[in-house]
Amino acid sequence: MMLESLQSLPDGLAETSDAIAQIDGMFLGGFVGGPVQGPLAALGRIFAGSPLEPLLVESLPALARGELQERHFVALAAARAALQGAQHDALHQQALAALGRASATDEAPAAPAAPTPMLEGVRHWLMELAITGFARLEPSTIRSFLPSLAQLREQPELAGLAYLLTGFTSELLGALPVAKAEDVPLQRWADLWAGAMLRAAGAAQPAEPQPVSGTLYPLGLELREHDQLISVVFYALLDAGGSTSAVRVTRSRFKVMAVGGDMIWLLFPELALLIEALGQGQSLALADMPQLPNGDLLWDAQRASLGGKCRLLDVAEPLLAPQAAQAVASRPAPALERHPVLLAEPVVLAGHALGEQGLALADGAALPLDPRWDTAQLPAEEIGKAAKLFGLLRWDAGRWAFQPLSAATAAGKLSFAGQSAVKLYKKPPKSNPVAILEERASRLLRK
């Protein structure tokens, strides 16, 4: 079968990774006195003839000469993102071919970003990080940025950047000063730096949602979190207007570190219905739920109600199995989301076995398990004995892997990452840490 084809890498992928590693190397020692000329010249040659060429023809030599201006660093971030975007597109095409899926038509390009004065300070601080170099950063450089970051968090339209920077600064404060340069997770920090720099170049206009009605089949969920963030992503199928498509529901909130583990579900009372549907094997009826052009639903619990009982993974298999006859189309990602780590094709697998190397699929192909797999809530035992699995085909560290999100037994009983939420919503703890801290906040912050 076709999943075997995921073992070989798309043409040019390794060379592109090398070019990205060259850029990242410059961030380790910084742009003052570091050996940056060679890598910058090589980068210029890669972009010859591309739309980025005019920008880079100016910025790369300027950086090499030590002209450390903000716009040159924005250009460098754009070049890095373009390389990862090319990798993303090649890998996405490979995944679609392996799964037998078509790509839906591309969205209209996003409206140009509007300049936002608050972002100047962010770009300036990011430039300071690059000039100093990750291996030489002092905690004081991070701490001095925290007041601006607190202001940034007050701007709803800049939430994506604020969540990113809150996690990045907290990770840096936990790691600095760096004892050995080899300890720096270089690609990761360069990703976070570049992602922040591009989002700080301007705030993109949000797309207009349209109301949608139909039947939603939730299939699994993924938790993403750092000490001050919790973000839940549900993956689902939506049957609306005579066609079925893969959709996501995301809810995100800033949180405090004291609220962790299962208690995070108390931060999202509006998600109880989705959890109940997953826990009991039920669909949801949606009435005029706002939906973005790329398919994402903007969850409003008032517009959803529990529907009929069903075996959720049985419903999904004909659409999400590899090479399925009625395979769903995959939506292309907008520019800022073209990064290999964001690839997440929903897949239903059946007839697998679990071994030391990961999943052995029905046709003999092997697929390792992704480190993002929540082994606490969805243990290997559940994966091994499941008749059907739902999860995401993901890419990181040079290979494809499967991140299981839910597992159904032959009798149809569903286990899923995040399933401790079922109990928590049914019987909230007597001592509710979210309520206690919110009450403290309202007393202390408004007195």
Binding site: A258, P433, R440
Partner: protein
């Protein structure tokens, strides 16, 4: 080619924190610091910290009055509660490493192992710690949102 964009080690999942007793604790700027509720008066809180390296400690009210329970060479109950909850939140290995406990870090298995190897009582302004607490609480006042959040994929 083998570089990863993901976080390398999965952090220890925080245990069951008692936020009524200790609403705030953090490892920040060379201190294990936080806020401890008064056992008797709901309006009063204590601001306490342990210094990394020296392992000296301090406890005072948020109006900067010294804690009556602090004798000199032994920490008051507020400090013990703070340390206890820090261990719950971060795990004892991270707490012991952050405080710079002497000798092999593996010997610190529970609260008392750390309590036995502390410095002495010290004094410092509690204002910055209290404002860190308020900043922390402000995070819970920010609304949840439904927009897709791709930047969260790195966490």
């Amino acid at each position: 080619m083998t570089q990863s964009s993901l976080r390398s080690a999965t952090a220890a999942r925080p245990g069951a924190r008692d936020v009524k007793k200790v609403p705030f604790v953090e490892l920040y700027d060379g201190r294990l610091q936080g806020v401890v509720s008064s056992g008797s008066d709901i309006q009063r809180v204590y601001v306490s910290f342990f210094e990394a390296g020296t392992r000296d400690f301090s406890c005072s009210t948020n109006n900067n009055r010294p804690c009556g329970g602090l004798g000199g060479s032994y920490p008051c109950n507020h400090l013990r509660e703070l340390l206890d909850e820090a261990i719950e939140q971060y795990g004892i290995a991270r707490v012991a490493a952050f405080l710079g406990m002497p000798g092999d870090l593996g010997q610190y298995q529970q609260l008392h192992d750390i309590l036995r190897a502390l410095g002495t009582s010290t004094r410092a302004d509690s204002g910055t710690i209290f404002s860190r607490f308020l900043g922390d609480l402000a995070l819970l006042e920010l609304p949840a949102d439904s927009a897709p959040l791709h930047t969260a994929a790195w966490f």
